[in-house]
């Protein structure tokens, strides 16, 4: 959040396909912009240091840690949060894979994981176990122990043993 009285800047972007324009302090984080202004709380705050991945959203299709990314950096860009992703046809496949493997427990890291997986698959980087392990290294899950997440990711990658 920003000190009161800071200079505001005008930004225009799309969030989950909807155009949004706002006047924001230069120091406002994208995470606070989404959570506080737009009330999109699917992206979560945890480590505040771009390590854990719970705040992951996609900006122009690529994953960013919204906890260390300024709202003004998203000016002119397309932001996708889990709320938007959940509205797409593609989401069902991710949802089913995670449900089938029970690849979530407390659910706090789950939105960030789903969006990271989507961006990996869109970029053609979701294939081998090595790619999955590399691609998900920035998403910490303290509950599941990752086995089920790996299994769900393999299924999404089309590499799950049948």
């Amino acid at each position: 959040m920003t000190a009161p009285g800071a200079q505001d800047l005008d930004i225009e972007l799309t969030v989950n396909g909807e155009p949004v324009s706002a006047s924001v302090p230069a120091s406002e984080l994208l995470l606070d912009f989404l959570r506080e202004r737009l009330r999109l709380t699917g992206a979560k705050r945890s480590c505040d240091a771009q390590v854990c991945g719970t705040c992951t959203v996609l900006v122009d299709g690529g994953p960013v840690s919204a906890c260390t990314y300024l709202a003004v950096e998203a000016d002119g860009r397309a932001v996708l949060t889990v709320e938007g992703f959940a509205q797409t046809a593609e989401f069902a496949e991710f949802e089913n894979a995670f449900m089938r493997h029970a690849a979530l427990q407390c659910g706090y890291c789950t939105p960030g994981l789903l969006l990271t997986l989507k961006s990996l698959r869109d970029a053609g980087e979701l294939g081998s176990d090595e790619q999955i392990r590399h691609g998900l290294d920035g998403n910490i899950c303290r509950c599941t122990g990752y086995r089920a997440i790996l299994d769900a990711a393999r299924e999404l990658a089309g590499t799950a043993p049948s």
Binding site: A3, P4, A102, C106, T110, H134, L136, Y146
Partner: protein
């Protein structure tokens, strides 16, 4: 259950999908930090920069002048109450009074219209401190000339639960002893293994930090809090603020992980005090560095000595250890007692001496963390056992086979408490086999197996209620907190089984102390076993009403009516629940609602000494490889044993085991909170490393053992903690098997590499000598 013996379970024992999955996957699940109330203010806490200091002055005038600031709270605002809490020992003030005892202790709090204004105000508060000598380590706190951290006479908390507080000696706030048999005299043991060991402070790192919204109003106070034990917090808040228990309402939704970090009372009293002064709802959400000084796992120093006959028959074990509970006791006494119970290990000991000490230090408070006590001690006892096996020329599995207690034998060497309710020999054999125990070993590869017991179940008091609505669907009201472990799914399965409903038609809700029946706590692996049994009984009672109605309708013995798939059936007749309930009430309304209760029976009180409710098995085996040039330990294969009596939902049991496995790897290999003069220096995720997906071993196996030997529903007993105690122990044993015995955790590459260097130079010296 009806007199018609149920031939098969339809809902229980099935891996049903999680009830909460869709909400969580779609980002719709609400956590406290996602919630806003009308008129809500944002709270921020000013925390002490010093580990030990007197507070000479607090000047809040500049803070109050900041636009948007509603109020600033200091200890002076708490004059009208006795502002000390602590469920075990009432030693902790809501805000520091006259002195701070750890770096990070709340000194003042601000409520403001925005988080930014609250943060600015916190920075504007001027506090004058006079620094005191810091007792930042166990050695400093235990020194003969150490000043006591606390000046008030210790008062027992509402839920001490461990008998008398006893005399406090210096900074030892609680002591637990376990004595049995006559220790052998010097030189009597053919094999003697003895050493000093160190276990680090560890952070639970639930991904969601502590968060509370409090609204203090004319009728009492309402909180939305991410607490594991809402009913214990409710009682403590009522006691603190002079309210009736029913005037304190706590609503608990989803928790973003707990692992013990959100057990007992944490941020709630401060949030209530701030809201009380502000007269408006206030939300406080910790940042991660604040949660790291809110709860953690105890660091520990331990001395252990184990003796055995030359043939490997165990003779005695002596253990003394000291746990750094921080500046306030929190759950330290129970952690200490549980560690004391875990110290001997589940073996037949002719003689045991355990002295467990819980020690105040000028460090942040320590409390519960998954498998507490057992995680602290199991790796030490098991590594000594393996050393005995080496000297006796026995396979470690064989040594355990000969010495482990068997079902029905006493676990505590003094014969007190619950006898063994598990097949430990079978568990050890299964785990060892799953990591290729008898396969040839490559150099620098080692295998280890470990087994232990964790006193589980806590105080066995839970109530629940089950309501069958007029449309035939059902609600379960149970106080268990859903923090990821899956109780909403498991409770739905249990209720569904008894009601003869598909679990898809059963809803399980979060706790709201105004409406939800009492449940002691969510921890100690008790939800399925204790609260689950209360749910089963409530559902049985509701089912009895349904059968009774069908019996009246058909003029038959209700006991002969069968409930299945949402219908009552008897001799070819059947009626669906909605019609059945309509028959009972004469219209399309009404409901069936019944309760269920679990409490100590047969003259028992549920005390710790009588307990535990059950012994949770902590058993695992691993294969590791160590790189002698770098000290890096890689876990190759793991097997964890979930000895659960009956798996209500096998997939969720596996997930619990796998989660504990990775936390065990973190605790063993790299997790460590570092303190300098009592102040934590790695309070962020860049410097405090938790396991990532890359740390997942190539091969993991979760073995579910179902011997129906638990006190819970269908013979179930709790799970999900054991692997966390067993994995570090198995890793330490495996590393010793690879040639590198260690006495300090975590097994960082540097520590292991240095040890390999020492061993090599010792070997060289021996050869030269």
């Amino acid at each position: 259950m009806s007199v018609l013996e149920r031939t098969e379970l339809l809902e229980v024992g099935v891996s049903k999908p999680r009830k909460d999955a869709a909400e969580k996957l779609r980002g719709q699940a609400q956590y406290v930090g996602d919630m806003e109330m009308a008129g809500m203010l944002h709270g921020k806490v000013l925390r002490s920069p010093h580990a030990h200091a007197l507070i000479r002055d607090i000047d809040v005038s500049a803070a109050l002048a900041i636009p948007g600031v509603a109020t600033v709270l200091t200890a002076a605002d708490l004059d009208d109450i006795e502002p000390y809490y602590g469920h075990a020992i009432k030693d902790r003030p809501i805000l520091a009074i006259d002195r701070v005892r750890f770096a990070g202790e709340p000194v003042a709090a601000v409520a403001a219209e925005s988080e930014a204004a609250a943060e600015a105000a916190v920075r504007a508060i001027e506090v004058t401190y006079e620094e005191l000598p810091v007792l930042g380590t166990l050695a400093q706190a235990l020194a003969a000339d150490a000043a006591p951290l606390h000046q008030r006479r210790p008062q027992v908390g509402l839920f001490h639960g461990l008998g008398d507080l006893g005399d406090q000696e210096g900074n030892v706030c609680y002591r637990y002893r376990l004595d049995a048999g006559e220790l052998p005299g010097a030189g009597e043991g053919d094999i003697v293994v003895e050493g000093d060991y160190t276990f680090p402070a560890v952070y639970q790192y639930a991904m969601e930090t502590h968060a509370t919204i409090a609204h203090y109003h004319g009728d009492g106070v309402t909180l939305w809090a991410n607490c594991q034990h809402p009913f214990l917090v409710q009682a403590e808040l009522a006691d603190l603020f002079g309210l009736e228990i029913g005037a304190v309402r706590i609503v608990v939704g989803y928790l973003g992980g707990g692992f013990g970090s959100k057990s007992y009372t944490k941020l709630e009293p401060l949030t209530v005090a701030l809201a009380r002064k502000a007269g408006r709802p206030v939300r406080i959400v910790n940042r991660v560095e604040e949660s790291m000084v809110t709860s953690r796992r105890h660091g520990m120093s331990c001395h252990m000595r184990t003796t055995a006959a030359a043939d490997g028959t165990l003779r005695s074990r002596e253990v003394r250890f000291w746990m750094d509970t921080g500046a306030y006791a929190d759950n330290g006494p129970r952690v200490t007692a549980t560690a004391g119970d875990a110290a001997p290990g589940p073996y037949r000991w002719p003689a045991v001496r355990v002295e467990a000490n819980c020690v105040y230090c000028n460090t942040p408070p320590s409390g519960s963390y998954r498998a507490f006590g057992a995680t602290h001690l199991q790796w030490i006892g098991e590594s000594q056992l393996d050393e005995i096996a080496r000297r006796a020329g026995l396979d470690p599995v064989e040594l355990r086979r000969r010495n482990l207690v068997t079902p029905g034998e006493p676990v505590r060497p003094d014969g007190s408490g619950k006898p063994l309710d598990a097949d430990l020999v079978g568990d050890v054999e299964r785990a060892a086999q799953a990591v290729g125990w008898d396969e040839p070993r490559r150099p620098w590869v080692g295998r280890g197996v470990s087994v232990g017991l964790l006193a589980a179940g806590a105080h066995p008091v839970s109530r629940a209620s089950v309501r069958v609505c007029s449309d035939g669907s059902a609600d379960v009201y149970v106080g268990t907190t859903e923090m990821g472990q899956g109780p909403r799914t498991v409770m739905a399965q249990i209720a569904a089984e008894e009601l003869g409903l598909p679990s898809e038609l059963v809803r399980v809700h979060g706790a709201d102390t105004r409406f939800t029946p009492y449940d002691r706590s969510t921890g100690a692996s008790r939800s399925t076993t204790v609260a689950g049994l209360a749910v089963k009984r409530a559902a049985e009672n509701a089912a009895a009403r349904l059968r009774e109605t069908a019996g009246e309708l058909w003029e038959v013995d209700p006991e002969a009516v069968r409930l299945t798939r949402g219908r009552a059936e008897f001799a070819g007749e059947e009626i669906a629940f909605p019609e059945l309930i309509a028959k009972r009430f004469g219209f399309r309304g009404g409901e069936i609602i019944e309760g269920g209760e679990v409490r100590p029976t047969g003259g028992a009180t549920g005390s710790y000494a009588e307990g535990p409710h059950f012994w949770e098995v902590c058993c695992a085996a691993v294969e590791i490889e160590v790189d002698p040039d770098t000290g890096v330990v890689t876990v190759l294969r793991t097997a964890t044993v979930a000895d659960v009596g009956k798996a209500i939902n096998p997939q969720l049991v596996e997930r619990q085991d796998e989660g504990a496995l990775l936390q065990g790897i973190g605790n063993a290999l790299f997790e460590e909170m570092l303190f300098v003069d009592g102040e934590i220096i790695n309070d962020n995720l860049l410097e405090y490393r938790v396991p990532r997906i890359a740390d997942l071993p190539a091969q993991t196996r979760s073995i579910i053992v179902e011997n129906a030997d638990g006190p819970g529903p269908y013979g179930a007993k709790g799970c999900g903690e054991g692997a966390l105690a067993a994995i570090p122990a198995a890793i330490v044993c495996a590393l010793a098997d690879a040639g590198v015995p260690m006495t300090e955790l975590p097994l960082t590459p540097e520590r292991v590499w240095r040890r390999i260097g020492e061993l090599r130079s010792q070997a060289t010296t021996t050869m030269e000598g």
